[in-house]
Assembly symmetry: C2
Homo-oligomer: 93 residues x 2
Amino acid sequence: MTDKISEEELASLLANGWQKVDGRDAITKTYVFSNFVDAFGFMTRAALWAEKWNHHPEWTNVYKTVEVTLTSHDAGGVTDRDVKLASKMDTLF
Amino acid sequence: MTDKISEEELASLLANGWQKVDGRDAITKTYVFSNFVDAFGFMTRAALWAEKWNHHPEWTNVYKTVEVTLTSHDAGGVTDRDVKLASKMDTLF
């Protein structure tokens, strides 16, 4: 089991454009690309990391936008695994 | 501009597990796979057809499930293009 993140870690995520989800212990961010190829290309790269780390996002794609929600279901909230995947997605973006 | 679909075409979609979306002229279907690799593999194959046909889904992936919504934004409803992509997705699944 991974520990939930600290206030400092949360503040760092919020500074990078992530937001808390209303009514859930989860974080969300919407990435906007130039077109579908770029958006889905991002998802494909992120999917490989998600599978490698066995930690998967909830995400929605509508043409050039990708809305990502991260939480650790088994921990009931945001953990270091979410911070790691969030950071990777920001880098890929 | 593509014509909206007929009642017969809609009935055929519904018979294949598609459902009308409440409050929108759109259709939706949820595909459930064995795992994330299978779910995202399906999305990747479908994405190539969507881009090839320049007709893209709204879709959400949570681990092994993929929820797809199809509509033709420029036509304000479900058209032949949605039927074509829905049929392709069913085949890929």
